[in-house]
């Protein structure tokens, strides 16, 4: 049972600086990738069987996959190893601070959602209307499915693991809405496999609204569960921000 000492506890602040640093880094990363994509897609990215394609795009693919795997294991592993083993005893101020951190993760998740699901996705739409495809590894696919979506998965999984290792409400139980929100991007990868198989074997058109792409739509709808997650988090934050009724002398 946590004993509350209202006189001494200081309310937490939002980690704006850390959030700003992470967002700045990600925007620079996605921006630099985008610049590279603009500079090399229509010059050396049109023909998979050219040596330049292997140099400029396939090497990038291999390197980014390795880096993403290392980053994923590092972040998620760190969060699990450093989990709070006495989470039910944290003070309410610490709990509120951790909710601020969780929302920080979710903000980063949202920024990447916009970049990957809007900007990078429609780059693929534009690309395919110009060039059709020669293989499943096009510059826009390498950028979207092997950089954008994995980054999305890394941040989403980190948010999920953070919540379930550091917040009392999430201790020893699973938030189904948050699990659904994270499951969507994860399942995009196997659906990508099905999609590329379809385009390779029987679906030569590249209309974005074609039925072969509807699996992606369904997985995108997993984000509707974000509402349920917000309800879970905000309900607890409302409790944590309730004024203490028993000591009115503390209120201004």
């Amino acid at each position: 049972m946590v004993k509350q000492n209202l006189q001494k506890e200081v309310p937490p602040s939002v980690p704006w600086r850390n959030l700003g640093v992470v967002l700045f880094f990600l925007l620079m990363l996605f921006g630099a990738y985008r610049y590279y994509q603009h500079a090399t897609s229509f010059t050396v990215g049109l023909d998979y069987f050219e040596p330049e394609f292997q140099t400029y795009w396939m090497n990038l693919l291999y390197v980014q996959l390795v880096i993403e795997f290392i980053v994923f294991v590092s972040i998620v592993g760190y969060l699990i190893v450093t989990r709070d083993r006495n989470v039910m005893s944290i003070t309410p101020q610490e709990e509120l601070k951790r909710y601020y951190n969780l929302f920080g993760y979710v903000i980063v998740f949202s920024v990447i959602a916009y970049l990957a699901a809007s900007l990078y996705t429609e780059a693929d739409a534009a690309w395919h209307q110009v060039t059709v495809r020669d293989t499943d590894f096009t510059p826009t696919h390498i950028a979207l499915f092997y950089f954008g979506i994995p980054t999305f998965i890394i941040v989403g999984t980190s948010a999920f693991v953070y919540a379930h290792t550091r917040l009392p409400q999430f201790h020893n139980r699973v938030s189904l809405p948050l699990a659904l929100v994270i499951a969507g991007p994860i399942m995009i990868m196997p659906n990508l496999g099905f999609n590329e198989w379809g385009h390779t074997f029987f679906y030569a058109e590249e209309l974005f609204a074609a039925p072969i792409h509807w699996g992606f739509v369904l997985l995108g709808w997993s984000a509707f569960a974000a509402g349920g997650f917000l309800i879970q988090a905000l309900t607890r934050i409302i409790q944590l921000s309730r004024l203490p009724e028993e000591d009115l002398s503390l209120q201004k």
Binding site: I107, H213, L243
Partner: protein, 256 residues
Amino acid sequence: MTSEKELIDREDLTAVMTLDQQRSVFKNIDLMVIPLIVLLFAGIFSFHFALTVGDWDYWVDWRDRRWWPLVTPLSLIVLPSVFGYLLWTRLRLPLAGTVSIISLALAAWVSRVMNFEVFAGFPLNMVSPSTFIALGLILDCVLLLTRSFFFTGFFGAFLFALLIYPLNWPLMAPFRVPVEYNGILVTVADLMGYEYIRTAMPEYVRIIEHSTLRTFGEAVTPLTAVFAGFLGILSYFFWTWIGHVASKAVWIKRIF
């Protein structure tokens, strides 16, 4: 295992002592949640819109009288319905249509310029997005005035789907001007399409003006609009129910 009692015991704990501290928490949450919602809407809606409407809205020559006025509002009504349930029942904010469609519009404009014009080289007036914000406003206003999902579905969703064509008519009219091209009557939009060949150009792929009664008097477009309106009503009720399901705060013991 965490007991329910431990969680209930924690419900009485509070992190604030004064009114100023409480207000500070509310302000911090607003500053975090509002951008988060706008970005999530922009991402989800863009993705959903791209993969359901897609080429119908990407190209000015794909905005026909049959498919575009039918597919587009049915796709657009999804997020306003889903999140409208959450925002209205929990926060009494009739904002889902407006906020979600404005988020989509911002994301769409950035994408059309960056991807279609700068990256792929299409002219901007060929790939500019249609306008939809007024539709979201209408839906939200009906909800605000009637305070009822029932009447919003019947009137708001009907108007939402019905009005997409007249709303965009001023934007599309210049591209509907007829021209003669090699002895064939085409529109300016068609001519732009012939100049900018895409993989979606062949007639068997381009799903525009496909129907039987193409010369159904002058009622082609109004007929499609009214049909879209009725389907919009059904869609609104279905997706509002999905919003009800998706906004439940469900906890489970384990995933595997």
